[in-house]
Point group: C2
Chain length 327, copies 2
Amino acid sequence: MSNQVWAIGVDLGGTKIETARVAPSGKVDRRLRTPTPVAAGAAGIRAAIVEAVTSLRKDAPAPIAAVGVGVAGQVEVHTGVVRFAPNLHWTDEPFQADLAAAIGLPVAVDNDVRVATWGEWLDGAGRGCDDLICMFVGTGIGGGVVSGGRMLVGASNTAGEIGHVPVQLNGPLCHCGNKGCVEALAGGWAIARRAQEAVAADPKAGAALLKLAGGSREAINGKIVSEALSANDALARSIIDGVADALVAGVTVLVNAFNPRRVILGGGVIEGMPALVARVREGVMPRALKAATAVLEIVPAMLHNDAGVVGAAALARQAVAANPTPR
Amino acid sequence: MSNQVWAIGVDLGGTKIETARVAPSGKVDRRLRTPTPVAAGAAGIRAAIVEAVTSLRKDAPAPIAAVGVGVAGQVEVHTGVVRFAPNLHWTDEPFQADLAAAIGLPVAVDNDVRVATWGEWLDGAGRGCDDLICMFVGTGIGGGVVSGGRMLVGASNTAGEIGHVPVQLNGPLCHCGNKGCVEALAGGWAIARRAQEAVAADPKAGAALLKLAGGSREAINGKIVSEALSANDALARSIIDGVADALVAGVTVLVNAFNPRRVILGGGVIEGMPALVARVREGVMPRALKAATAVLEIVPAMLHNDAGVVGAAALARQAVAANPTPR
């Protein structure tokens, strides 16, 4: 699948651009970081990326074959046009074509969670596995699905929007406009919302959370709930019980629908509460279809903060493998 | 994808075996039907199929290239071993290999709803579409998923078990052992259960249902609820409102997870209440992700009672196309 070539991976976020030279093994060899010049527009952002890539190419131990970029936003498959990236203020930006022209190397662009899935698949917890799902539980929930050795993209490149799987009829409102999505129950923003509401409803039960947040209810977030949980706070425990239930329901949906061999759980909420992986496993195994769980493993992600750049490089390597440059 | 060859499709059920000679166009040319000799075991069932196939080959307008069979049960991909088919009393039956040896033609076996999906994809409402989901709402709910021009099978051939997508945390118990599956809310058996419970709880409200069932609460089934709905019965309407809500939730899950271009709804419950297709469409469009619904159509299935045999023939044609016989 992947190619024995060196690639550069770019994690393009709304606040910083991280760029890394990545070996064929998926190991980061050298990395650079720079603030995202959002105000400078697409041309300015492109220039910052070109500068970083040029610098990483200069002292590379082998020629760089391609550049991959992960963007937080909606990206069109193949063309790499960024349809919508609110953090960058981009709409219909022909980013892949423009960057390839500026760099003179093949460029592949996809959204950040899809890119992280490429990374876990080729160089992380999914290595060698042809049927897997990555679920990244951060502020939001996103991921990607590999089935039969292929990354699913769907009819308009939104396949794998697994945060927006509704698991509760008439559940709490999600940012997507629907109700009861797994993200609206288990994403970082939903944990914060639920904790803030619980503290408002019962300040006594919420005393520990409020204290950890320096007395400001609005400052309560997922990280603080996780800290309170470590200190054995009852309200935090009940909130995280709800998070675990929602993740179990969401992963059960995915296991029954896609029949993966491996489910890989990552993202800030999981990294902050790694015990959630075992809880999800213990919840899903008896609930999902027997024929599906018979072959199933549920494991933590491996790339952590490197998922963005390593994944982008993995995307670039496979794009080159799929479309070899004529020689 | 499919091949310009003639094939024979077999729909192997617990009560009858339907066999049809199918043209390259997907049109049924001649069909046979015989009771399933379940008591005669696998050898007896095989003999009945061989007899039907032999008869259909005799006067065929062109040579038959392959035979496809749909079985209600768990089937292993590629080998066509039937892992479990309760209606036939089969466990680990090497059906595909044995039938191929007996007939002397390539044989492809898969489960009945997957086979029906092949039929709708190649010869029905999914023709020419590379990203589609078929959902068959009958006594149970099953289906299949085509993504990027390939039928998804998953790690153990259970991909597309879309009836067992839980949509309601702690919802009603499903036959699969889990709670709140779309099948447990919208499958024919669940409609019957809910109607019977509602009639028991409020016989006055249930008077119309009870009358249609000849006074026997146990005889109330999905068909009777559908009849009562046509007669504008309030209880039936409230039950079917719940069915529509569950189908909307289930299809929203699938649209967000798989990003299909077409969702095809079929099966007895849909055929009995075809207005459900429009209700699902109207419910899903505002709820699923915009980027996914922008390319989405939700349409009724086209093959109806022929889905089994036409689908089995489509499976056979594509198996021959994928593995051409050496000449």
